[in-house]
Symmetry: C2
Subunit: 211 residues, 2 copies
């Protein structure tokens, strides 16, 4: 342990005492890292964390009181420059995207070895976005379009514009085709997707990654 103030200042918020103190010990004894404080919940951390002024927060999702996902925007509000690294057992797609859209800088699962966590802390400080490999795959898949769509190219294109909230008229103008042609395409899209409204078409499109 050193008093060198070039150390990366870290705070851990994690309800499991064993994990919390385990990580604190492992990270704290690494050269260049300093665990400023550890907390069992966000609510406990809330009062003191601003004065802790951490550069990186290791945050669990399952916490008593305010859960980790909800805690992210609150933490970012008082510590905008601080990087938040999610460290959790959960691999649900919804939780991952909620965490990232709320402002998390990375997402690690708890089976991650300590060395990798320590490396990830440095990475996040240098502008990286550390993720466990399986998380990365989920994130990548969320971009991937379905390769076997029932829709033709034109229909996909029009469906995309519908997802952008464009009206038939706007679509017609944008594609230099007649309003009636747009209508026909939309009708065919509806038939193929088995829907009968824009909202349903968008939902089906998103669910099946057609856009």
């Amino acid at each position: 342990m050193t008093n060198d103030n070039n150390n990366i200042r870290i705070v851990i918020i994690e309800d499991d005492q064993v994990i919390r103190e385990g990580y604190a010990f492992l990270i704290g004894q690494s050269e260049g890292y300093e665990v400023i404080n550890i907390y069992a919940s966000f609510d406990e951390a809330a009062k003191k964390i601003v004065t802790d002024a951490p550069e990186v927060i290791l945050l669990d999702i399952e916490l008593p009181g305010t859960n980790g996902i909800e805690a992210i925007p609150k933490l970012k509000k008082v510590l905008p420059q601080t990087h938040i690294l999610i460290l959790t057992v959960y691999e649900s797609e919804k939780l991952i995207f909620d965490a990232l859209s709320n402002g998390a800088s990375g997402y690690l699962t708890k089976n991650t070895p300590a060395a990798k966590i320590i490396e990830s802390i440095k990475e996040v400080m240098q502008g990286g976005g550390p993720m466990s490999v399986n998380i990365a795959r989920m994130v990548i898949n969320s971009f991937r379009r379905n390769q076997d769509t029932p829709l033709s190219k034109r229909e996909t294109q029009i469906l995309e514009l519908i997802c952008n909230g464009k009206s038939r008229t706007q679509i017609a103008n944008e594609l230099f085709i007649d309003l009636e042609t747009v209508r026909t395409h939309i009708k065919n899209i509806y038939i193929k997707l088995d829907v009968n409204s824009r909202a349903d078409a968008i939902k089906t499109a998103r669910d099946n990654r057609l856009v």
Copy 2:
């Protein structure tokens, strides 16, 4: 070099001869990896790649003729199970998302050390999604919502429903509030975003990551 058919079968498509053969050599001499073929362009690869039956393709973006981005869906069409790893100097957000949405399984920049590339090949075979750290940050940032939105919580919620193509009536039903209340919120959203149509609101929302 070994004839062991448990090796990971790799094809490299890369126009720079030095890089192409350099990678081929480095990967080929690694235990468990086998470079089946190397090509200078997709068009050259197209004829033979099906019989190559690679498990992983290392693909450059800047290629003569068909570029790497366009090549991805064509490759996935004839080799649906094959993982495509983009290996390029480009770090533009558009190229990254185009690559991923076209079906790439990972995205590495060319400054990546050979050892990391070799590790990434194994990772992608095991269901991971390897990315360079800076790429990962860009991908994560694409999920991140703007923290200082001009909109209130309710307005953000309604804007999200608008992005899902919901009508005022549907929104009212979903939120258990009056149709007129929804109207008022939408009016206020329009004022705050300085727009006057759903399509423009959606565009502004997406551009500013309000949703």
